[in-house]
């Protein structure tokens, strides 16, 4: 498939050891590490907020923190998890690391822009953390008007500025990926030889560049309206709060697909590797991610069925939402079919991925409950919605992110971690997750609204179950931190291809040299040419 490995060149990790050698590096692999460290930090800040929220909800009375604090906690949990962890998670770490490696390029098309993206991310993070330290924000991550413009007394503008800035980080990353995938593919790497992970990065990048500017300008409008007291979102000024919701969800619904599409890409890579068999129906998998990215732009109004939106618009958005579910369903069926007649082994990445499929299926199916107009009248803004999107974002995106980290960890660091600990963590996360969020479906159907600091006492048992699950989940998330760090020093040397996987990234040394490949690889075959399974 490619030229034979050269004498092992110097790994990218050894290209410099000073802090500055990292902060000034334009190597996509080092920037990926910068992102990995920063998003992990933000994940644990957001997780800390979630911990306090779940502790508060153990009792029906609002006795642990005040209502103001609680509102600020769920706002910071949402803002940080959405913009500073989930959206950048897979694209900025695994994507940054793997896109050039998988297509056989030396780097992204615009390496300095890539570094600038990271600095923008950090700058946005500083604004947001600054808003947190200065006293917090209590609007919810959705910044609904006129509450955010006229009624909240918290640091809305600073938080909005942070999100505005981090938006440009996303835009530049997406731009970089699109150009790289178009222009930097190795000879022979045709569009239909691209790994599905690359397809998912491409689809996510489309969303990054076309949706994020809308959010940026909308937040700008919020800031101006709040600061000057004139605007188009406040009915008291003659504006319309639903206009804000349209603009916000035009971005924020596709943003959900930015979280799940990369996860689908990761799952496809891992399943095919550990089933030792090509992905079932490769082309329809590739078209499915593109279809999700495009149709995903047409469904935002399903967040507004009970908002006072016209019922006709609601109908249109409802049917479009059913349509966007079809490519997702196809992907689930195709993953399952990929297992058929494979030679399946169950290393930690595979366990995470199988968990991902299950949880994503539940998350996706419950999304259809919510897309049904009459049912959404009951379920909207209840814990059913909270459970649904956590199944997608945490059960889906975070499971796949962890699976991907475990899968490519030997490539990124050159070391193997303890597979038994990792499998234990995967199982722990799966059970902890379900215990946390499944009771919330029931709470939602019972009618418990989201963002409630206190609640009627008959909901307590289910909330206690959920909080208990959250503590298991927390351990499940802390474990990988321990054994992965441990592996950096004590792990066995991985070698170039510990999983005997296909794909260009496995053909170079682990960790790869700064230039990725000794010589530009030439691709001559379709992806996932796993030969083991065929022929019995």
């Amino acid at each position: 498939m490619t030229t034979a490995a050269m004498p092992v060149p110097r790994p990218y990790l050894d290209a410099g050891f000073s802090l500055w050698s990292w902060l000034s590096s334009v190597d996509h692999k080092r920037i990926a590490i910068l992102y990995a460290v920063s998003i992990t930090l933000f994940f644990f800040i957001g997780g800390a907020a979630a911990t306090v929220i779940r502790m508060e909800l153990i009792t029906p009375a609002g006795d642990l923190v005040s209502a103001e604090t609680y509102n600020k906690l769920f706002t910071m949990h949402g803002v940080i998890m959405v913009w500073f962890f989930l959206i950048p998670s897979i694209p900025s770490t695994l994507g940054n690391f793997l896109v050039p490696l998988m297509i056989g390029a030396r780097d992204l098309a615009f390496p300095r822009l890539n570094l600038a993206s990271w600095y923008l991310y950090i700058l946005g993070g500083l604004f947001t953390v600054g808003a947190l330290i200065a006293g917090g924000v209590d609007t919810g991550w959705t910044f609904y008007t006129p509450f955010s413009t006229m009624f909240s007394n918290t640091h809305v503008i600073a938080a909005a500025a942070g999100v505005f800035i981090v938006g440009f980080s996303s835009i530049l990353t997406g731009l970089n990926f699109i150009v790289t995938i178009h222009k930097m593919r190795a000879p022979g790497m045709t569009w239909f030889r691209l790994p599905l992970f690359i397809w998912s990065m491409y689809a996510s990048s489309i969303i990054f560049v076309l949706a994020t500017p809308v959010l940026a300008m909308t937040l700008f409008l919020i800031a101006i309206e709040r600061f000057f007291g004139v605007g188009v979102f406040d009915p008291a000024l003659g504006g319309d709060p639903l206009l804000f919701q349209h603009l916000f969800w035009f971005y924020s619904h596709p943003a959900v697909y930015v979280m799940i599409l990369p996860a689908m890409g990761v799952a496809s890579e891992i399943i095919t590797c550990f089933a030792r068999k090509a992905v079932f129906a490769y082309r329809s998998m590739a078209f499915a991610v593109l279809a999700i990215a495009v149709v995903g732009f047409l469904v935002w109004g399903h967040h507004m069925f009970v908002s006072g939106q016209s019922i006709y618009a609601g109908t249109v958005f409802s049917i479009l939402t059913f349509i966007v579910a079809i490519p997702s369903a196809i992907k689930v069926f195709n993953w399952t079919a990929t297992l058929y007649k494979g030679r399946i082994s169950f290393h930690a990445p595979m366990l995470y991925t199988l968990g991902f499929i299950g949880l994503f299926t539940i998350g996706g199916m419950t999304g259809l409950f919510l897309a049904s107009l009459a049912l959404d009248m009951h379920l909207h803004d209840t814990y059913f919605v909270v459970a649904h999107f956590h199944y997608i974002m945490v059960g889906g995106a975070v499971m796949a992110f962890l699976g991907g980290i475990h899968f490519w960890w030997p490539k990124i660091t050159g070391r193997m971690y303890s597979d038994s600990w990792a499998r234990f963590a995967a199982i722990l996360v799966f059970f902890g997750f379900n215990l946390t969020f499944f009771p919330q479906f029931i709470l939602g159907y019972l009618g418990m609204p989201r963002r409630y600091h206190e609640y009627p006492p008959e909901f307590q048992v289910l909330n206690v179950l959920s909080s208990a699950g959250a503590s298991i989940l927390a351990i499940g998330y802390l474990l990988p931190l321990c054994y992965l760090f441990w592996s950096l020093r004590y792990g066995a040397r991985a070698g170039p291809n510990p999983w005997r996987a296909k794909g260009l990234e496995w053909q170079t040394s682990s960790p790869p040299p700064t230039e990725n490949f000794g010589a530009t690889p030439v691709v001559t075959e379709a992806p996932y040419a796993y030969a083991d399974a065929a022929g019995g």
Partner: protein, 92 residues
């Protein structure tokens, strides 16, 4: 080396003249009492001017189709934003 042929200077000047003519047309037509047609004419002329700028000054005329797709994507998605939002505001 240069893939894009360099257009003649006259082409640019002609396009510029066309743009100024369209500007005069849109300004003039705005003073005719045509009702809703005024707005439609204004928008049509604006689209024509934008196409002239993009096809000639920005070389879309001789660009690879991928660039044309990228250029139209922005407008297409803007149409989605405005169109589907109006499906609410006009039907309320």
């Amino acid at each position: 080396m240069i893939r894009h042929p360099v257009a003649a200077a006259q082409t640019y000047v002609l396009v510029w003249i066309a743009l100024l003519v369209l500007l005069a047309l849109t300004l003039g037509s705005a003073y005719l009492p045509l009702g809703w047609l005024n707005g439609a004419i204004n928008l049509a002329i604006a689209v024509a001017k934008a196409l002239l700028v993009m096809f000639f000054f920005m070389h879309l005329r001789s660009s690879h189709y991928v660039l044309r797709i990228a250029a139209s994507a922005g407008f297409f998605w803007l149409a989605i934003l405005i169109g589907l939002s109006l499906s609410d505001f006009l039907a309320r």
